[in-house]
């Protein structure tokens, strides 16, 4: 069982792994010549920390949903999920990540559980992942299964009314085995969330819907790790993770343009160098 704090060694290793993961994500999207770099880079720290340092699962049983479960509601961030699933052995090393978005590949542009059961739920039509996760958490309660269900939701998709229906339901049923992370990167296709359709005060809205809510820096691995271990006896948990769209690549950070555009060869090279230099900088500190 993981302790509730990352050791300095664990933290250093995780940071190092995340440098590699960010690079692979961008290579995959560049190879596919399409995809969503901004939201993949804002989400990767959360997904990796959950799978590497919080969730309990086995490659044999994960897809049966009888263990800890992760649902990616913001399906467009799926390159980040594929990278993590392969890193932790939930998908085979022989599956070529560079087949992303190619004909016949299990690595569809958005999660497809029929082609790749380890993604748990097919998502990509925003606002639906939380309801499905609520159903899975409910089944676990009925089965007296003590495992936990995690959801990563985008912030833009909170504009879908269905999300608030699911928030009411999970609160009514006191689903203490459910934690939703909000990838609060502030951006969506048509602009900043607060311009397109304001979400704030987001924490107060979740609290008003009966969710215990915490706000963290979504790129602070210790904060992600700590909140991932929180449990409540009252009901479900919401972690609003303030993140940066395109995190670690200067020309992508905070830029809406990089929501759904693949880098060209030059941009990829520059991005990989920047990410790698961050590793070197972290090491020298």
């Amino acid at each position: 069982m993981d302790s509730k704090e990352l050791s300095p060694t664990q933290l250093a290793t995780l940071s190092d792994t995340l440098v590699d993961m960010r690079k692979v994500i961008l290579k995959m999207i560049a190879e596919a010549k399409s995809g969503h770099p901004g939201g993949s880079l804002s989400a990767i720290d959360i997904i990796a920390t959950l799978f590497l340092h919080r969730m309990k699962y086995t490659p044999e049983h994960y897809a049966s949903l009888s263990e800890d479960v992760f649902v990616l509601s913001k399906g467009h961030g799926v390159p980040a999920l594929y990278v993590v699933l392969q890193k932790v052995g939930l998908i085979s090393d022989s599956l070529d990540l560079m087949s992303l978005r190619k004909l016949g590949s299990p690595l569809q542009g958005h999660p497809d559980r029929v082609r790749l059961p380890e993604v748990v739920a097919s998502t990509g039509s925003l606002g639906q992942g939380l309801s499905m996760a609520v159903g899975i958490a409910l089944a676990k309660k009925l089965n007296n299964d003590p495992h936990h269900v995690f959801v990563l939701s985008g912030d833009g998709e909170l504009q879908e009314g269905q999300v608030w229906e699911a928030l009411m339901f999970a609160s009514k049923l006191k689903l203490t085995n459910l934690t939703v992370y909000i990838d609060r990167n502030q951006g969506q296709i048509d602009g900043p969330t607060e311009t397109v359709m304001p979400l704030e005060p987001l924490d107060k809205k979740f609290e008003a819907f009966g969710w215990e809510t915490h706000t963290i820096d979504g790129h602070n691995l210790e904060a992600i790790h700590k909140t991932a271990h929180l449990t409540s006896t009252q009901g479900p948990l919401c972690i609003i993770a303030d993140t940066v769209k395109g995190h670690s690549v200067s020309f992508m950070e905070h830029k809406i343009k990089w929501h759904g555009v693949a880098p060209n060869d030059e941009e990829l090279e520059q991005a990989l160098n920047e990410i790698e230099s961050k590793r070197n900088r972290e090491r020298s500190v």
């Binding site: 049966s64 939380l130 089944a139 339901f169």
Partner: protein
């Protein structure tokens, strides 16, 4: 005895609930009307009231199904298919074995009017790969179909009526997903000129019309119900469209586009007379609406006679 198929559904699900602990039932503030409350009253721990939030109910049902449960998500048919996006993604694309139970189908909901009438639901649901679309006939096939859906983990849409249905299938009837059923006192297909196919609400009216055409108008007409609409029971259909059949009449309380009429017209090169709804519904009593929209026995007879006449003229 006449019984609405929603009523028989509710009783059957309650009975099956004892032996099948994986059954869970969800409703969206219509449990009294859909009859899901019969299950809920006896198994409160496996019944989830979702409030007036059908999209979320469908998503939760999908999650429950993915985690191994056998959910029945119930509402009026119109409100379920209004959440088509959740059905297409959370249920269909996930291949999540949810049974979507759409009650009060067609104009026979009556006085409530068009907003409560599912008239396009079959057309929408059969466009989803792997979705099973089933519409029982009476208190004889309904329990068998509900039982089938408990035992087979497929995504399904079960279309039920508020209208009370006369028992017209023989007591010996056994449901098969791949077959419809011939109705009594109409000639076998090999001896008929016309084939009348009906599903759901107007089944008895169609049967009576076919009996009249055969006995009194000298137009031998076979009548059969199609309680499985999708996947298409193709082999069975081919077996009843015998070489002597000159034309097919379809009868349904659904738009003539997308439903049974379209299904049959896509399948056969024979002339098809579609009898069903062609415009918005409206308020009225059940019997007034049945007559107004031409789903009563007399209207079906008249349209069939005109169709038959046209067939014979075109052969001259």
């Amino acid at each position: 005895m006449k019984a609405a198929t929603r009523e028989t559904f509710g009783k059957t699900l309650l009975e099956l609930g004892h032996a099948h602990s994986d059954i869970v039932v969800l409703d969206a503030d219509l449990a009294k009307s859909t009859k899901s409350e019969l299950f809920g009253n006896t198994f409160p721990d496996r019944f989830f009231e979702c409030g007036i939030a059908e999209g979320n109910m469908i998503g939760i049902a999908a999650g429950l199904a993915l985690a191994g449960k056998r959910p029945f998500a119930c509402s009026f048919g119109c409100f379920l298919i209004g959440r088509f996006e959740q059905i297409r993604m959370s249920v269909s694309y996930n291949q999540a074995p949810v049974v979507l139970v759409g009650t009060h189908a067609g104009v026979t909901i009556g006085e409530d009017g068009h907003s409560q009438m599912a008239l396009e639901d079959i057309g929408l649901m059969r466009n989803l790969p792997d979705m099973h679309v089933l519409q029982p006939t009476d208190a004889i096939d309904t329990p068998q179909i509900v039982s089938y859906l408990v035992e087979h983990r497929v995504p399904a849409y079960l279309r039920l009526t508020r209208q009370k249905m006369a028992p017209i299938l023989p007591d010996t009837y056994t449901f098969s997903l791949s077959e419809g059923a011939l109705l009594p006192q109409t000639p076998p297909p090999a001896e008929a000129q016309l084939l009348m196919l009906v599903s759901g609400g107007p089944a008895e009216a169609a049967m009576l019309a076919a009996q009249h055409l055969s006995a009194d108008a000298s137009i031998p007409t076979t009548c059969a119900v199609m309680n499985t609409l999708w996947p298409l029971p193709q082999t069975w259909l081919d077996s009843v469209i015998t070489s002597n059949i000159q034309g097919i009449i379809t009868v349904e309380d659904h738009y003539t586009t997308g439903g049974l009429g379209s299904i049959i017209a896509e399948h056969t090169s024979l002339p098809v007379q579609k009898i069903g709804i062609e415009t918005y519904g409206q308020s009225g009593t059940e019997s007034e609406l049945i007559h107004h929209y031409g789903l009563d026995t007399q209207s079906i007879i008249e349209k069939s006679l005109a169709f038959h006449k046209g067939l014979n003229l075109s052969q001259l």
